[in-house]
């Protein structure tokens, strides 16, 4: 087995992963990239290689810009495995993954996790009904197979919600309405961060352009919505919400797309046992890392949105910085070269991140849409557990996500807590009067994604021998 000879394995081929891999290759490192999609690009540049005029028009210049990133990545000497599903990472850099029907375990000399972000759960009554999906999932369908729904309703908050609705309109589809849940008082909290945001005024302009064009196309934007609930018993039939004035409003639609921002996808970094800190501003966990992206375990780096949401340009810069750091830690470049090469990318990071505090404050999702009130609201989709089921567990004295999980099976399904982890944590925090960071998170139990038993049954891996070769 030669697989352990990799200097660097990068997990994820989005902006951060592609940049990290290409950077490391140019310095002569032997690099392997594992990614579960069929083409490079990650969520943001999904299927961009094959994008033509239609995509260019509908998905916009920011999307098409990804073509250059993908080309640089393809042109590098990186070994790239598309469709590789990573299901385990340990703190000693053992990586378990499935590729072309075979499970394998490898242990490279260094590792960069570039697994990006995921959409924050939005557990409102009816969010599990057929016809409801996240806006991000709706965008994935649009990008990968040009599938879209006529007359959809977009509800929630955040730039991505508007971007995707805008893309829908550009695709010539009717959008029933955008129901905006951004609390009105958020703007006062965002105001102090405006000077920082102005450093990146292009971003502000972009948002204003989407909104004015959405309005021009006649799609109503209904602001100040709270207490959302999806209507319908068997399938989604629409959405009801309470307006700022206190009155209830309803709109019918068989497609409801929910979104309230993105958070780092921490399943692999948590499973690896890296230390994480609770970010009370972004209301999510972030792996603890230094300014090279080094995590708390030896030669494991985190780059891009998985380390803290900053968007594609920041992720690209973070990928390069992490790769440079890894090359230096491996002794492949000097510390002087490292510091010099990183300088320009740090400036990019600073510029991109200058916008975040403003966005974070403006689009902070309200408590009420993160922590359900209605006892019948589903919390854990996989095990079909409601708020009441969770409360029953808390009522017998269980006060952390793991004991609740052991008792009622929340988070034990195939999604490994991606859909319920943050919600459960905040429910426990609220009901026991503690800060969410104090409550903690699920212990993640690999495989992070399901693996065929047949593949695991055939694994041959001798950790001792692997260690000897390093």
């Amino acid at each position: 087995m030669m697989a352990d000879a990799y200097d660097l394995v990068v997990i994820g081929a989005g902006p951060a992963g592609m940049a990290a891999a290409a950077t490391a290759c140019t310095a002569g490192a032997r690099v392997l990239v594992l990614d579960d999609q069929s083409t490079p690009g990650g969520q943001i540049y999904r299927a961009v290689e094959n994008a033509g005029n239609w995509e260019s028009n509908v998905l916009g210049p920011d999307y098409i810009a990804g073509k250059a990133n993908v080309r640089t990545f393809r042109d590098s000497r990186v070994e790239y495995r598309a469709g590789a599903v990573v299901w385990q990472v340990t703190g000693s850099r053992e990586i378990g993954y499935s590729y072309q029907g075979q499970a394998q375990i490898i242990r490279p000399r260094s590792l960069i996790l570039a697994t990006g972000a995921m959409e924050r759960p939005m557990p409102i009554p009816g969010w599990t009904l057929p016809g409801v999906m996240t806006a991000g999932a709706a965008q994935t369908l649009l990008k990968s197979s040009a599938l879209a729904a006529e007359g959809a309703l977009f509800a929630g908050s955040g730039p991505l919600l508007y971007l995707i609705a805008y893309q829908y309109l550009k695709a010539g589809l009717h959008v029933e309405a955008i129901v905006d849940t951004t609390p009105r008082h958020n703007r006062w909290r965002a105001l102090p961060h405006l000077p920082g945001a102005l450093l990146n005024w292009q971003m502000l302009n972009k948002g204003r352009k989407w909104i004015s064009e959405i309005r021009a196309l006649g799609t109503p934007i209904l602001k100040g919505a709270g207490e959302l609930r999806v209507l319908g018993d068997e399938v989604a039939e629409g959405l009801a919400w309470r307006r700022h004035s206190g009155a209830w409003q309803e709109v019918s639609s068989s497609h409801v797309f929910l979104h309230q921002g993105v958070v780092p996808n921490i399943n692999l970094s948590m499973a690896a046992g890296l230390q994480h800190d609770w970010d009370a501003i972004q209301i999510c966990w972030r792996p603890r890392c230094d300014d090279w992206g080094r995590g708390s375990c030896d030669k494991i780096f985190i780059a891009g949105d998985g380390a803290g949401v900053g968007g594609a340009a920041a992720a690209h810069a973070a990928g390069r910085i992490a790769a440079i750091g890894a090359l230096s830690d491996l002794g492949l470049i000097s510390q002087g070269d490292r510091d010099r090469e990183a300088r320009g990318w740090r400036a990019v990071m600073r510029r991109e991140m200058s916008f975040r505090p403003f966005l974070d404050a403006w689009f902070r999702p309200p408590d009420q849409l993160r922590v359900p009130d209605d006892e019948n609201t589903t919390v854990c989709r996989c095990e079909e557990l409601t708020l009441k089921d969770i409360r029953d567990a808390i009522a017998i004295g269980l006060n952390n996500p793991n004991s609740v999980k052991s008792f009622c099976r929340s988070g034990m399904g195939p999604c490994q807590g991606r859909f319920c982890g943050l919600t459960l944590q905040e429910i426990i925090a609220r009901d026991t009067g503690r800060a969410p960071g104090e409550v903690g998170y699920y212990r993640l139990r690999p495989p992070i994604k399901p693996v065929p038993l047949n593949e695991l049954a055939n694994i041959e891996f001798d950790p001792v021998q692997q260690n000897d070769r390093i």
Partner: protein, 366 residues
């Protein structure tokens, strides 16, 4: 004063509280955090060491009426339990085992032939020649069970202190004094029910209990069509296997990860799961289509002879109940009663001489 909030600590607390004694349980994490909460939940008399059989039988009487004991059904599902033989020599071993049991007067285990195995396990492969069989064993939900013992004990007056780690132990004037992370506790009798961590505690109580911590791994599949009701093990190949009502299949039996008892963590070893998964596929061909969705490991204390320590310590006012070596769950309802006897100075009805704490001293002296 019981140290350790696993199933044995909780059961001892319950039995003592039922008899009206004042009891406290000190648990360094939360009750059922480790082996007691994450094991396979086997309620199994089958295949036990002959020394354990009488206790397992007594425990089974409790399990049959578990609600009467703890006011909760503990998710207990009685079923058949089969240990499958795939070779003639395994079959011969089964027959010998049943004869030995009969000689001691135990009738619960029996040999079943190939056709009966087919009837009980229609999904099993053709090469299953026979099986050791018990009707009425089964499984329970371990975390819920352990918490149920705790809750019932609490209702009867036992006090539980979670996140309470014992740092120092001293005895003065016939009273044990434990200095913990959340204060000082005192009691005339101390019970060592500290599982994988019981070796350290035993040493501080003046006894040598050579407990080693291991991390047996369990795996669970995505939901599958119902194909097996009994709990199944195999001879010559470690496997414990059962399908839950929701269709998921639990696979355990021997493969180990790495235990880090000092940090309470475990690391899984996917490279070491192959053997048990191949056995699972061999016994149930349908498992070739299964998807594994989650694996985990608990930290359990093992003793060199794979039997627990149940008995008084060398010093006064010490009782050990530890080192169950991954098969203590079923025994707990009965062992709690034995511990209550030992704590209160009465003589247990069941024979515990094989589990005495000093048995390792004599081995070492030889």
């Amino acid at each position: 004063m019981i140290v350790g909030g696993g199933i044995h600590g909780c059961s001892a607390a319950l039995h003592l509280a039922m008899r009206g004694h004042s009891v406290i349980v000190l648990e360094k994490d939360y009750v059922a955090r480790h082996a007691s909460g994450v094991n396979a939940g086997g309620v199994r008399r089958l295949g036990r060491d002959l020394a354990e059989v009488p206790i397992a039988q007594a425990a089974w009487q409790y399990w049959r009426e578990i609600r009467a004991l703890v006011d909760d059904d503990c998710g207990y599902r009685p079923s058949r339990y089969l240990k499958v033989a795939r070779t003639e020599s395994d079959l011969a071993n089964i027959r010998r085992r049943v004869q030995e049991l009969r000689a001691l007067g135990f009738e619960h285990e029996e040999v079943v032939d190939r056709e009966t195995v087919r009837e009980f396990l229609p999904a099993a492969g053709d090469h299953c020649l026979g099986a050791l069989h018990v009707d009425g064993d089964g499984s329970a939900l371990p975390f819920r069970t352990t918490r149920a013992f705790m809750l019932r004990a609490q209702q009867l007056g036992a006090r539980f202190f979670e996140n309470t780690r014992v740092n120092e132990i001293a005895r003065t004037d016939g009273i044990w004094k434990a200095t913990t992370s959340s204060g000082v506790f005192e009691a005339p009798v101390i019970v060592n029910a500290a599982g994988a961590w019981s070796g350290d505690l035993a040493a501080r109580l003046g006894d040598d209990v050579p407990v080693i911590a291991h991390a047996p791994m369990l795996m669970i599949t995505a939901r599958m069509p119902a194909f097996v009701t009994p709990v199944v093990g195999v001879f010559n190949g470690t496997l414990s296997f059962k399908q839950f009502d929701n269709g998921t299949v639990l696979i355990g039996g021997g493969a180990r990860g790495t235990a880090y008892p000092e940090t309470d963590e475990t690391e899984l070893n996917f490279g070491g799961m192959g053997a048990v998964l191949r056995t699972a596929k061999d016994v149930f061909p349908i498992m070739a289509k299964a998807n594994i969705v989650r694996t985990w490991a608990g930290i359990e204390g093992y003793l060199p002879d794979n039997l627990p320590v149940i008995g008084p310590g060398t010093m006064d006012g010490v009782v050990h109940v530890c080192g169950f070596s991954a098969h203590g769950f079923q025994l707990a309802p009965a062992v709690g009663g034995i511990v209550a006897d030992l704590v209160t100075g009465s003589r247990p009805d069941l024979r515990i001489e094989p589990f005495r704490v000093d048995r390792f001293n004599s081995v070492r002296e030889q």
